[in-house]
C-alpha cells in the first residue's frame, strides 16, 4: 500500500481504538533521519488535474446523499469538504511531487513500513470554490513522529500541510496525517484440540473422515449407543455393528460457554472470540451427541431447534480435520 498524502486510506485495524493515539514512542536512528524531512516541501506548485467542475460536484453529492441546494444550479459552490479531492492525483499519479517526499516514503518502505492509513484530516476553508476555479497547491512535511507502536503495527506518523489556491488566491488549508507502518502479524486462527482417537472409537472417526455419522448398534439386542463403547449398556453384549445416522436431529439441551474465552470454538455467527453454544443433539435415531451449533448466534440456540449435521474442516493441534457440527435447519426455528 504505497502511499502519499494525496491518496487517503482509512484505518484497517478492525479495533475500536484510534491509531492516532499510539501507545508507545521510542526514538531511533531511522526516526532521527526521518525528522530531517520536517519543513521540507512535499509538493511544489502542484496543479489540480481538473478545474473545480459541476460533474465532480454532482457525483460527490450523489454518493454522500448531500442535497444541499448550495451545491447545484447557477451560483453553485463545491462542498468545502471536497478540498482534497481537487488535489488528488488519481490513477495517473501526482504532478509537482518533490524528490524529498518520495525519499521520505522510500525510507519508510525500506524500513518495512509499507502499509499506510490516514488518521487525521483538518481542513480550513478560506473561500468557496466554484466551477471554473483552477486549483494549485503546495505541500510541506510538517512533522514526522518518532517510532510508534499501535494496534495496526509499528510505524511513523507523517503530517503534511497543503495550501490550496483557487486562481492563485488562498482557498483552503488541508492538514493530513498518515500512519506509515509495518503491519503487525495477524495471529493464525486458534486450533482446536485434536480429538482423542482410540481403539474403542476409531470406527466413529473413520466414518467422520468419510463424512458419515456412524452410530454403534448392539447385535445382541439391537440397542443403538453413542458415544462408542466396547459393550452394550442394555444387555452387556460385546458384539456390535454400525448404522449410518441420517444427520437430522434437534437440540436436546445446550450450555453457553462464556468464560474462559476459547476462540477456537467460537462460531463466526457469535463474533471473533465470543461465547459459544455447546449443544447436546438428539439424533433422529434416538442417540445423543455433543457438538457445536454453528451458524446461529450463541444466544439464539434453543431446546428443540431442528438441526442437521455438517462436516466442517477445522484447524486442530494435529492439523486440519473434518468435524461433525450441527446447523439449524432453515425455517425450523
Amino acid at each position: 500500500m504505497s502511499e502519499d498524502p494525496g491518496q487517503a486510506v482509512g484505518p484497517a485495524g478492525g479495533e475500536p481504538d484510534t491509531p492516532g493515539e499510539p501507545a508507545a514512542e521510542t526514538y531511533d536512528e531511522l526516526g532521527a533521519h526521518l525528522k530531517e524531512f520536517e519543513g521540507r516541501p512535499a509538493a511544489v506548485a502542484g496543479v489540480g488535474k481538473d478545474p473545480v467542475n459541476a460533474p465532480m460536484i454532482r457525483h460527490w453529492c450523489e454518493v454522500l446523499g448531500d442535497t444541499n441546494p448550495a451545491y447545484s444550479g447557477p451560483g453553485a459552490v463545491a462542498p468545502p469538504t471536497m478540498l482534497q479531492a481537487w488535489t488528488m492525483g488519481g490513477l495517473s499519479g501526482h504532478q509537482g511531487r518533490t524528490g524529498a517526499y518520495d525519499g521520505l516514503l522510500a525510507l519508510l518502505d525500506e524500513a518495512g513500513c509499507t502499509a499506510v492509513v490516514a488518521t487525521d484530516c483538518e481542513q480550513e476553508y478560506l473561500r468557496p470554490l466554484r466551477p471554473g476555479d483552477e486549483i494549485t497547491f503546495d505541500t510541506v512535511v510538517e512533522t514526522v513522529s518518532g517510532r510508534k507502536t499501535t494496534k495496526l503495527g509499528t510505524g511513523y506518523f507523517v503530517t503534511t500541510r497543503t495550501d490550496v489556491r483557487a486562481n492563485g488566491e488562498p482557498a483552503g488549508v488541508h492538514r493530513f496525517r498518515i500512519l506509515k507502518y509495518a503491519p503487525a502479524r495477524r495471529k493464525p486462527p486458534a486450533p482446536r484440540p485434536r480429538p482423542v482417537v482410540n481403539r474403542d472409537n476409531a470406527g466413529f472417526w473413520q466414518g467422520v473422515a468419510e463424512h458419515r455419522l456412524l452410530v454403534q448398534r448392539c447385535t445382541g439386542c439391537g440397542t443403538l449407543r453413542h458415544p462408542w463403547l466396547p459393550g452394550c449398556n442394555a444387555c452387556g453384549s460385546p458384539e456390535w455393528d454400525t448404522v449410518e445416522a441420517s444427520g437430522e436431529g434437534t437440540v436436546f439441551s445446550y450450555v453457553v460457554m462464556h468464560h474462559p474465552p476459547f476462540p477456537a470454538f467460537t462460531d463466526a455467527a457469535s463474533g471473533p472470540a465470543g461465547p459459544y453454544a455447546v449443544g447436546l443433539i438428539e439424533l433422529a435415531e434416538g442417540v445423543r451427541m455433543v457438538s457445536n451449533v454453528v451458524g446461529t448466534p450463541y444466544d439464539k440456540v434453543r431446546v428443540g431447534l431442528p438441526v442437521r449435521v455438517e462436516f466442517r474442516r477445522y484447524e486442530t493441534t494435529g492439523g486440519p480435520l473434518d468435524l461433525p457440527v450441527f446447523r439449524a435447519v432453515p425455517g425450523g426455528e
Binding site: M1, E3, Q7, A8, V9, G10, P11, A12, G13, G14, E15, P16, D17, T18, P19, G20, K49, M56, H59, W60, E62, V63, L64, G65, D66, N68, P69, A70, P79, P80, T81, M82, Q84, A85, M88, G89, G90, L91, A115, V117, A118, T119, D120, C121, E122, Q123, E124, Y125, P128, L152, P183, R186
Partner: protein
C-alpha cells in the same frame, strides 16, 4: 434554521455503510487505493474487507452539519480523526452537539459510531448567517 445554542444536540443521522457507498465514495474523491474497492487485496493487507476512505467520511461529516443548519450555513473548518474502520454491512450513526458559539459561528463536536466503536470524532466550525424573516 436552527438556533445557535451551546448544548444543542443535532438529530442523529444513520448511514448504512454499503459496499456501493465505500467504492463510489472512493472514486468520487479520486482515491484509487485498492483497499477501498478490491476486497481481495484489502484482505491481503490485513483488513477483513474494503473500508471507507477518509475523504468520504469527511464529506459525510460536512453534510451532517450543513443538513442541520441549512443551505446558508458555511463550513469554516472540519477536523476529523479516524478510529474503527467502516466496513460493508456496518451502520454508522452520526451524532453532534454544539460545543461553542461565537456570534454567528458555532463549533460542533461530531461522533460517528459504528459496530466496532467510534469511526470518526471531530469538530466542525460553521457560520450560520442571520436570516431576515
Amino acid at each position: 434554521m436552527a438556533a445557535l445554542t451551546v448544548g444543542t444536540e443535532l438529530a442523529p443521522l444513520t448511514i448504512p455503510v454499503t459496499r456501493t457507498l465505500i467504492v463510489a465514495g472512493a472514486i468520487a474523491s479520486r482515491d484509487y487505493q485498492d483497499v477501498h474497492h478490491d476486497a481481495e487485496l484489502a484482505r491481503q493487507k490485513g483488513a477483513p474487507d474494503v473500508f471507507m476512505n477518509i475523504l468520504t467520511t469527511n464529506g459525510l461529516v460536512g453534510r451532517y452539519v450543513t443538513d442541520h443548519f441549512g443551505p446558508t450555513a458555511v463550513l469554516r473548518k472540519v477536523a476529523i480523526r479516524l478510529g474503527a474502520p467502516n466496513h460493508p454491512g456496518d451502520t454508522m450513526v452520526l451524532t453532534g452537539r454544539i460545543e461553542a458559539v461565537d456570534g454567528d459561528t458555532a463549533t460542533v463536536h461530531v461522533v460517528g459510531a459504528n459496530g466496532l466503536g467510534h469511526h470518526v470524532t471531530g469538530a466542525v466550525t460553521v457560520t450560520v448567517p442571520e436570516v431576515t424573516p
